[in-house]
Symmetry: C2
Subunit: 396 residues, 2 copies
């Protein structure tokens, strides 16, 4: 079941959004597209062109120094706040803290949310990304596994070109949850002169062996699916079983027992189908995870998930420097780390150790831990709990 | 790659062990076989015959009241202590606490370890079990998915028949890690008059939605493998990819970040193959988990894993009683719960809540938490840390 946006529609869509005038954030959000004619990856490979979607809330001031950049998580998009249409069910993922009068105050700040390279949701018509599902101009076919490897730093370097194209020289703050937090730290290390503050949420300075192993497991079901065909599945039956299982695993890894127990307990999926009487009769939590995996898979691309998992596996702010300490010393931004106490995907001790290490080399780091029963995803669902701490951070 | 023990060899093996005289435990351990002509499951389905392997350490006293029963974990076997042969690399999984002069003192106690129904390791020649890989006498072929559903309580009811067959009326203590701990609690609820003490390690009174969801995920890769063929793969190519991925997932779920980081950090699997240069170039932890999954799969049976996952999913000591409290009130044994502080498969709060609940209805429960960086598996690898508490428990 392939729902790629036809090329013609894509052009029409691009024209519409390129020609749109800026709306205030409390009106509807408009998705825009940034295009780079050519981008050379950290690994030295050329991609031409590169397109990423972005959206903005609030107004860029005359001195262009009221910018807050929001980077998204593994399965997210640029849609951090507001709605694209009044009938949209839910607003962007961090709407609780982004908006007029909110901690990330769009009456003061010009907030930019961007799609990453290799965004997962290639079938979401609001997403613009360049990745393995994109057409390789050299062949006229999707890149598949011939797309170059990318890293979190590549995501950031493309965002840098976007920010520069808007005439912005300074970023007041870069923030984001999970993979968005990883991007925030890469920003602070890669462009230290440009970044005044960073708020990495549920993040770490590198993905250690534990998180790395979980990321490997997320990729594994896709590699096992015969329909994956080494990534050459475009225009054919896609590896939906592997993709759905991967997303089922991701859904659970980002949660916690308190969430699962409160939401599902040991209720059967169907009271008429007692789990004790047949192998296939499920409990509610099993059924809910199956459905979540399938629903998320309907917008996603399997190869893009592999590229994202690899980018996260490779994530280490020390990469390319003589040491982790050298990378730390580059950071000039004040950093506020926001872990969640029940996170078992990126444990909170990673953020604590980072804060200690940065302060030890003369940096300015502090930490606010969200107390939540939600697990990792608390960095999105419970971000409002950090609202007052974020407000206070602007004055520091 | 099928390595089932031929039927002829099985008979020979059975004869040898049936005719073996008792050895003292500090000599080599001898595996024996218990056979029930017929067993009717909790769900009312007949299995004939049922065979399970078992082994003993120490000597049964004249009054037959010095018995300690040890039940094994999900991927374990009866082999809790000692060695079958001098050249065996490692002793049984709880050898640290079972032996002459050890906390489970084989100079005093007669310790029995038993294989469960549907034991995972059907290709391990030391294992005797009855499950989906067993021959269905009605057809002369393996049961496959036509094997009846079993529960943890079924495992216990078969063990009860074994214990009775040895003329034993009272069990001083039943214990075991993880699924062995679940069996321990089912023993205490199902045969309250028989059980004096129970030491469930890394266990809970039911598998809540969180653990249940993880168990579902363990089964998922097998169901996705085309070679699984609805369980009808015996004598053909087996679903080894699904089975290996399942066991890779199980390996990680039973561990912790402190273990992963200490053992692997971000070292590459092969220094000549930089993970930053190719999708397939792995970090050491990725490679180690792949190899662990494959190694464990070589002795295991995919359908048996599905039946074990289901038995664990169904586990709830309150099942069949009017309430959880009614089940609790049945328990006459003194119970010592031993969780691990870093366990994220069966979180320690489950054990704590159980202790409170049992004491509240007049039971006698206490708790000792193993402080470990190993995660769930600390209930096996670090069981020695609970040694003194276990010694003290005998006098309570």
């Amino acid at each position: 079941m392939k729902k790629r946006v036809p090329a013609v529609l894509f052009v029409v869509f691009s024209i519409i959004i390129y020609s749109t005038v800026s709306f205030a954030y409390d009106q509807l959000v408009v998705k825009k597209v940034f295009e780079l004619k050519e981008y050379v990856t950290l690994g030295g490979q050329k991609i031409s062109p590169v397109r990423i979607g972005y959206e903005t809330y609030g107004t860029l001031n005359a001195t262009k120094d009221n910018v807050i950049l929001i980077c998204h998580h593994f399965s997210g998009t640029s849609h951090a706040a507001g709605k694209y249409a009044t009938e949209e069910k839910l607003p962007g993922y961090w709407d609780a803290i982004i908006g007029p009068g909110k901690p990330v105050d769009t009456d003061k700040y010009f907030v930019i949310g961007t799609d990453t390279l290799c965004n997962l949701n290639t079938k979401d018509p609001t997403v613009t990304t360049t990745g393995p599902a994109s057409i390789n101009p050299a062949t006229g076919k999707p890149y598949g596994m011939f797309f170059p490897l990318i890293t979190i730093r590549d995501m950031v370097r493309v965002q840098y070109e976007l920010v520069k194209s808007l005439g912005i020289q300074k970023v007041r703050c870069v923030s984001g949850p999970s993979m968005g937090g990883l991007q925030s730290l890469e920003w602070a290390v890669t462009y230290p002169e440009m970044i005044e503050k960073a708020i990495p949420v549920i993040a770490a300075p590198k993905n250690n062996a534990w998180t790395l192993a979980l990321l490997n497991l997320w990729a594994s079901p896709i590699l096992m699916d015969p329909k994956w065909s080494n990534g050459d599945y475009y225009g054919k039956a896609e590896p939906m079983d592997g993709l759905a299982l991967s997303l089922k695993l991701i859904t659970l890894n980002a949660r916690s027992p308190w969430w699962a127990d409160a939401a599902f307990d040991r209720k059967p999926a169907d009271p008429a189908k007692d789990p004790y009487t047949a192998m296939g009769n499920k409990f509610l939590v099993e059924d809910a995870l199956d459905k979540a995996g399938l629903a998320r898979a309907s917008l996603a691309d399997a190869n893009s998930l592999l590229y994202l998992a690899k980018a996260n596996i490779l994530y280490d702010i020390g990469y390319g420097y003589s040491s982790y300490e050298e990378a730390l010393k580059r950071i000039k931004a004040k950093v506020l780390m926001i872990p969640c106490n029940t996170d078992i995907l990126i444990y909170p001790h990673n953020a604590k150790e980072f804060v200690e290490a940065l302060n030890k080399v003369g940096g300015k780091a502090s930490l606010f831990e969200i107390q939540t029963k939600e697990g990792h995803i608390g960095g999105i669902t419970e971000i409002a709990k950090a609202g007052e701490r974020i407000r206070a951070f602007w004055a520091e």
